[in-house]
């Protein structure tokens, strides 16, 4: 029995971004985990109050490098409801496509990172290779791989041509067949060994700690904001992916099935894509308070926006999914896991620290 303290992070190969867990360990068993954030706070919420609401779209986009689509969607939807306008149907479909493409590349990225964390490098490289094709598809639509700048207040900035839609369909076929290629990884002995029963979060704990997104859905909570039918989701057919494993393997399985679901949703969007305008112009004053929530790849993304009738916004509050998932992660870590499992458990909630601290 040797007690020691390990400072896991803020600089650690498994975390692309700085977060620290101070672990009290006995031999290799973690008995206490203390999270510490605050290494990359950028004061974006304050900047929202200082800039023009139109410029804020680009600010929202830069909160998170992996999920710019949900951030801008949540922001513009909030401002739209303050203005009392609504985006045209075609714009809603394009937004939905961008959000789902975003989810696909984010989930593939996560799957690769998990492979890296447990020392499965070939799987890591393979998944990231497939992700490139998704990013290429995004670039063909929006002109950029990372910051899409597709959303505008009242619609979207770029239309999609029929040619782009066909191209997207082809990419979806490619991604689907590639994922089927590596699907057997879910049955791999070593992967099961490293994820099953690791990082248990029961349904009760998930509710108590306010878990969101795949972390909650892997604990048997059917919580998916897309079912509320914002943007085009009301017209599309899908069921939230819920599993009852309550462990890291469950979170893996949820994301894996959501990948297929997203591919299906994009195909539905392509088929049902309405024609017409893509932008509703408006100069209405922004007055009152609005809450805008969208389902980002990591879970519920929460925007509170308050306007005071002037040209600038009074307050924008952003609550990112990772912020809600840190406390559940501490619960998972404090159950006496191995030091080797810390990286798997922290990764299983898909941390995105820069957007957590804004």
């Amino acid at each position: 029995m040797v007690k020691s303290t390990i400072t896991f992070g803020p600089q650690h190969p498994v975390f692309p971004e700085p977060i620290q867990f101070i672990l009290k360990v006995v031999d290799e068993k973690v008995v206490l985990a203390e999270p510490q954030i605050g290494y990359v706070h950028r004061g974006i919420e304050k900047a929202f109050e200082l800039n023009d609401p139109k410029d804020n779209i680009f600010l929202a986009e830069r909160i998170c490098g992996i999920c710019p689509a949900p951030h801008t969607t949540a922001y513009v939807r909030g401002v739209e409801s303050l203005m009392g306008i609504e985006a045209p149907p075609r714009a809603k479909y394009i937004r939905t496509i961008m959000n789902e493409l975003n989810r696909i590349h984010s989930h593939i990225l996560w799957a690769g990172l998990l492979g890296d964390a447990i020392g499965f490098e070939s799987y890591f490289m393979q998944t990231w290779n497939y992700r490139e094709k998704v990013l290429d598809a995004i670039e063909k639509i929006s002109g950029h791989r990372v910051t899409y700048a597709m959303n505008a207040i009242g619609g979207v900035r770029r239309d999609m041509t029929n040619e782009q839609l066909r191209g997207l369909e082809k990419t979806m076929d490619y991604v689907e067949s590639s994922l089927e290629n590596i699907e057997d990884v879910m049955k791999d002995y070593t992967i099961k060994k490293r994820t099953q029963g690791i990082g248990i979060l029961t349904e009760e704990e998930a509710r108590r700690d306010g878990a969101v997104g795949p972390t909650a859905r892997a604990s048997g909570i059917s919580q998916d904001l897309r079912t509320s039918g914002y943007d085009a989701y009301g017209d599309l057919k899908f069921e939230p992916v819920v599993v009852n494993n309550c462990d890291s393997y469950g979170r893996f399985a949820v994301r894996w099935q959501e990948l297929k679901q997203s591919i299906d949703l994009i195909r539905q969007c392509i088929v049902k894509m309405p024609s017409g305008e893509i932008l509703t112009k408006s100069n209405n004053p922004m007055n009152g308070e609005a809450i805008s929530r969208v389902e980002a790849p990591r879970g519920e993304l929460f925007y509170y926006i308050k306007g005071n009738g002037s040209k600038k916004l009074e307050r924008v509050k952003v609550r990112t999914p990772t912020f809600a998932n840190i406390i559940p992660t501490v619960t998972m870590l404090s159950k006496g896991c191995q030091v080797a499992d810390v990286s798997v458990i922290v990764l299983s909630m898909d941390p995105c620290i820069s957007c957590t601290e804004r």
């Binding site: 954030i37 605050g38 304050k46 306010g210 919580q223 809450i291 609550r319 406390i327």
Partner: protein
């Protein structure tokens, strides 16, 4: 906003307990600087609809913490204390900001300049 209940420091815990009993998830809390006073809006969600508790208080007044009821309030309250410099009982600053950071940067009185325009 819809489904909003006005609370004060004395009734906050009682109302939060009702939310807990109704199995609502504590989504987050938003702090607002309204010139002469502060407001904290507690957002709860049960999957279908949101409910909000709006707590108004004067600057310098210490408001109760709901950490005992909702463990996930820990970071949310710390962040409010850090960014707005308000007092929440039992919550210390230092989550997002360090000792050499600006104090309470989210207050309207805090100096800031726009970089974009």
């Amino acid at each position: 906003m819809q489904n909003e209940i006005q609370v004060n420091s004395a009734t906050l815990i009682g109302e939060t307990l009702k939310m807990l009993e109704a199995k609502m998830r504590f989504a987050t809390a938003t702090c607002l600087d309204i010139g002469d006073h502060f407001e904290i809006i507690y957002h709860f969600d049960n999957g279908n609809e949101m409910k909000h508790l709006r707590l108004s208080f004067k600057d310098g007044e210490e408001v109760p913490s709901i950490r005992a009821l909702y463990a996930c309030a820990r970071f949310i309250e710390s962040e409010i204390v850090d960014l707005f410099g308000v007092k929440i009982s039992g919550v210390s600053a230092g989550l997002l900001l360090g000792s050499d950071s600006p104090v309470a940067p989210m207050r309207k009185s805090a100096p800031a300049k726009s970089e974009v325009n």
